[in-house]
């Protein structure tokens, strides 16, 4: 399995800007499918940040993104992501 | 500085000869200068200005709102400026005291606006219907921190009209609050006011930028022009305006280097132009032994006293400040080389006289003629002091 297929186990995924996360844990505690955990690593400011440990459970609902007070995470559905990529690709090849 | 000079918009100009009081004339001056938005709050003896504005503006094209208090009025107008309007703030002493924080905001954010203070006796509620000139220091120093303003002082309804236009033009040129320091007598005195045709009234346009969004920095200046260019909300510049110490982009930057850059610029854009901002009327000062310095309504009484003194053979100069702030320090210093004494009558317990003393540095006598307000000086009181000074 390629890395991408592996990541695509769930319906969606999250994107984390770990450098601006302040570790409040809202995304982790209020994720409806409990797909996130805290990282073992610290970011530069000394906070643990979320990692998608159960990718198969992530639905890409973006509730984490709406809760996050620090604009540090957002979720998206693979379906939408693939569409966006295709669009981007078709724009590149004229 | 290179501001575009325009002609007044005829819609706001009530050309002709009128018999109106200073408050009404001031309102006409504002309309002629292009003021189309006023957020007001009534206070004696200034209220006629906003009443007239409220009555006139629907036909001129603009809007008036009476706010819930002076705090709201003095800052709502500044919102109006950042949406592109020319605005004025009208009040008297007690209201002015409430507005002081927003004087600082206008100075800090470089929001061009005109502030009209129809002075009455104070402190506190004081003498609501009677005159004084006792807010002269308040406008200069009343808001916290260091800042500079410009203040003009009319002595007739005609000057309320003329100087109001000048006040608007200066506020655009220097992007600072400009005061029209009226008083109850000037405000309520009815005289002939000649309003010229619109094409004879010169208007200074706002210092609009020609830069595009992205290139434009809200508070960027050059070494030979300390006044930044302006934009307005809604034009795609996504400006940020804050009363916090800010950098060239207008973003909060609360540190020593930014404070050290911003505050001197706010002061120097006016201080460096004190010469250009010299506006006085001088009569018989060249060979005078005594100079009477006055401003506003007091200058009319002083003139009577000066004429009486001259009739007695005394050499008395008449110096009237049109622009009181910035104070003409250099001019006073030059005159101090030639005269024996200055006499300073004013409707307060001695405010602008402090500036004269500061300028002459003890070289010549400076005689204050204070007055607690409520009426004007008796010419005889001034005459006595002139005679005393000439000895």
């Amino acid at each position: 399995m390629s890395a991408e297929d592996n990541a695509k186990k769930g319906k969606g995924t999250v994107f984390v800007r770990m450098e601006v996360c302040k570790g409040c844990s809202y995304c982790i505690d209020f994720c409806p499918t409990h797909a996130l955990d805290f990282s073992k690593e610290f970011n530069q400011k000394g906070y643990h940040f979320p990692v998608l440990n159960r990718a198969e459970d992530c639905t890409g609902c973006d509730l984490c993104g709406l809760f996050c007070p620090d604009f540090a995470i957002f979720g998206a559905r693979w379906k939408d992501l693939d569409e966006k990529r295709q669009q981007a690709a078709s724009q590149v090849e004229p | 500085m290179t501001e575009a000079t325009l002609k007044a918009d005829p819609k706001g100009v009530l050309t002709g000869v009128h018999f109106i009081d200073g408050d009404h004339a001031a309102c006409e001056g504002a309309l002629a200068a292009g003021c189309r938005f006023v957020a007001g709050y009534p206070i004696t003896p200034s209220t006629e200005i906003v009443e007239r504005f409220a009555a006139r503006i629907p036909k001129v094209g603009g809007v008036f709102i009476q706010m819930e208090d002076e705090l709201a009025a003095s800052i709502a107008i500044q919102g109006g400026v950042w949406a592109g309007h020319k605005v004025m703030n009208v009040t008297s002493g007690p209201g002015l005291s409430l507005m002081m924080e927003h004087l600082g905001y206008a100075a800090m954010t470089e929001t061009p606006c005109v502030w009209v203070d129809v002075q009455r006796g104070g402190p506190s509620t004081g003498l609501p219907t009677l005159p004084a000139q006792a807010d002269m220091m308040q406008v200069k120093w009343g808001s916290h921190g260091d800042y500079e303003i410009i203040a003009l002082s009319p002595n007739s309804p005609q000057e309320c009209f003329d100087l109001m236009i000048k006040a608007f033009n200066l506020s655009e040129e220097y992007r600072c609050p400009v005061f029209l320091m009226m008083d109850e007598v000037v405000g309520h005195m009815t005289e002939r006011v000649n309003i010229p045709p619109a094409d004879q009234i010169e208007i200074t346009d706002r210092k609009w930028t020609k830069k595009k969004p992205g290139e434009y920095k809200a508070y960027a200046t050059t070494s030979d022009d300390l006044v930044p260019e302006m934009v307005k909300a809604g034009d795609g510049y996504r400006i940020h305006v804050t009363g916090l110490t800010h950098d060239e982009r207008g973003y909060p930057a609360m540190d020593v280097p930014n404070q050290a850059k911003l505050i001197p610029r706010l002061l120097n854009k006016i201080r460096n132009n004190t010469e250009q901002l010299l506006d006085v009327r001088m009569d018989g000062c060249d060979d005078a032994d005594v100079i009477v310095m006055s401003f506003g309504i007091t200058s009319r009484v002083a003139t009577a006293a000066i004429e009486a003194a001259r009739a007695k053979g005394l050499k008395v100069g008449n110096l009237r400040l049109i622009i009181c702030w910035p104070f003409p320090v250099k001019l006073i210093q030059q005159l101090a080389e030639k005269v024996k004494a200055f006499v300073v009558p004013e409707l307060n317990m001695g405010q602008m006289v402090l500036e004269v003393r500061r300028a002459v540095e003890g070289k010549v006598k400076v005689i204050s003629i204070p007055h607690p307000g409520g009426t004007v000086h008796e010419p005889e009181t001034i005459l006595e002091q002139i005679i005393e000074a000439a000895r």
Partner: protein, 315 residues
Amino acid sequence: MSESLDLRLALAETELENPVLPYLRQDRIPHIWCPGCGIGSVVTSFAEAVRRSKLDRDKIAVVSGIGCTGRVAGYVDFDSMHTTHGRAIPVATGLHLANPDLKVVVFSGDGDLTGIGGNHFIHAARRNMNLTVICVNNFTYGMTGGQVTPTTPSGANASTTPYGNYEYPFSLPFLADAAGATYIARWTSLHSRNVTQSIEEALKHKGFSFVEVISPCTTLYLRRNRLGDGVDTLQYYQDNSILKHGADTRETAIDFQGKMLVGKFVERQKPTYLDAVNATCAKLIGDDYQLYGKTPPEKEAEKKAAAKGKKKAAK
């Protein structure tokens, strides 16, 4: 770091950005708010609401006063003014009246909006001024260190009520309703999707629209009252908010750690301040009146309607 995480990070950089970021002054992020502070969540909802509303963002201006919420104006990438304490609404009124094409949004905290700025709040609501006011209500003055505000529940501890608050608090929806606001909603920062929807509705509403968002001040209010961390508070919101659209605003008071009504309480139509100005002046001044604040097509339509009316009268 796992391979899949790497991939996602790469994706984030190359193809996609957080949908909120285009609405922020990215050079000013990270912001100053504490970990878990609800203000950032409300900003996210606001950005999302603007995106969905499809309004021209360059015709939206954001105004705030002083305090933690007062900093919003500095972080969002719109025309914005950060004003003096309590005076965001007068500034917004000035912006709006001077250019009625602007949609002006006020972001304000409970102390700023209803303490020092309370007079402006009720009068703008009374006039049905066409503004959107978003209040992040965290029951405390955060920036100055956790003092009591007009919304602090009775009994709650604040740095200036160290023995508990003995005052009666405002219920903001009730206050806004009594003063004349024409759109009123309350949510908590947990109700992100509802907040987003309410802000979108508020942006499109004509008149004074008010959205209150109960939100955690993790550093001061929660700590001082031993209420745990932000997660505990969001959990409290989840367990204790009762959805009741159209609720009588007299029932919206909040007791210390008690139940809270949330929902869209009020939505009604009433002429705005400028509508009233135009209607009155047009009637009394007649043809000399210069309609204020109407877009050219609106003015055209009104002229036509007036001409038709005259013709009919002539017949």
